[in-house]
Symmetry: D2
Subunit: 140 residues, 4 copies
């Protein structure tokens, strides 16, 4: 898979008092896009946690906002895997009006961690089988 | 005012399925901290919009995550004005466990815009009176 | 239209620390379903506000929870107009696993209000043209 | 403790495009108030889950909205335990402008459940020690 494209419609609850999207919502959507991206390439994060106690935790996130999203706009969220290291990976997200102007560009840098117990984690190298899978979907 | 410190307690609804804070929540809190920061220095953003149709819209946001926040943790959100240009400003935020470890560092770059009508906006130079006010609270 | 059915997949950001949906999320979804329901019957709430300063504000909401929603579950949100008075209406929502068990039943009672200025509102009788439209989609 | 009063200020991210609180936010706040209420009477829900695999899951929630909350309003969230059965309890919440008008009344009916494994639960009688504790804080 080169990139994943999700579609959604901006709704009332996404808006702030200016009638444009409240920006933390964008992060909710790109987080969701990441989960769906991983699932589509065969790496369901829920199962990964349950069966192997592994997650891809956030190290860094960021967004550039170009235009505001408005009520009832149809948008596309386009997600690609852009970088892949020994322990980390970076997803790049773009949100645009359907077939049109870019609203924002964002990224999430994630690190592979193993859950020790409760809510403690340690960084680990991405296991070989997962790395192989990810490499097939790396976009350059 | 050098920096603003807000205190809050991490609650159930802030957590994800790992029992740690779901990261878009952090952006909600730093956005809130910005609004309170502006209010404390005498620039209530609600009144600014109502009386002068001016807002400080987001251009760019980002966060580095160092440690996860957990249920019932008491945290401090520390906010400073770090950059001030003709049209833009940057707020720097740090979230730490009360008196202790840093959970994250983040920033918001905002641009001064005037609302034209409905949900259209144009970038403007920060008006002189506001600029003067902001300069007094710039942290270097 | 008898009822509207929306489909979505439960995602990471919807979960609490038990790994089940954090209940305020359900209210976000049924609010969204109401907006889409109104749009589908020809009553776009964004335009209604912009052109006539009318909105359907919330008077009362409630939900019964039968089973928890979990990561990656595909769900259906089914929305119907159940009551229609002079000033108020009630939407009934049901959320179920796709083609299967009911997760919750909820409702929203909404009242027709006109925006006076800023954030002040007064209750009004539902205008005749809107009432006629709504009557065609009332489910008994 | 008769009732718990929490104070907060309505912020930008709580508002919808009308400039009033988006109603699912109120449920987030009353859920938070419940957790703090339980903690204050000596029943930390995080520890209860961790140490005894017990939680108070939601059966039913509801709110009546009387007036809209607006930007920068200071509000009080007042929480009481109103009903206590063998397996269930009901919390009543009221949100008002500080020392003034009631914005809403809401409730949460919760049922005592034990976590079996993963995200499965079974309803149980409230253990005797917890029941005793709760009885002391029941408001009639």
């Amino acid at each position: 898979m080169g990139s994943l494209t999700l579609r959604r419609r901006i709704t009332w609850g996404d808006l702030d008092a200016l009638g444009i999207v409240f920006y933390p919502r964008y992060y909710e959507w790109i987080d969701e896009a990441s989960h769906i991206f991983f699932d589509k390439i065969g790496l369901n994060l829920g199962r990964l946690l349950k069966e192997r106690e592994i997650i891809f935790a956030l190290v860094e996130t960021g967004c550039h906002y170009f235009r505001p999203g408005r009520y009832h706009d149809e948008i596309e969220i386009i997600t690609e895997l852009k970088d892949l290291g020994e322990k980390t990976l970076t997803l790049r997200h773009e949100i645009r009006l359907s077939g049109n102007e870019v609203l924002l560009e964002g990224y999430e840098k994630r690190i592979c961690v193993r859950r020790l117990e409760g809510t403690s984690f340690e960084a680990i190298s991405i296991p070989e089988d997962i790395l192989t899978l990810l490499r097939d979907h790396l976009q350059r």
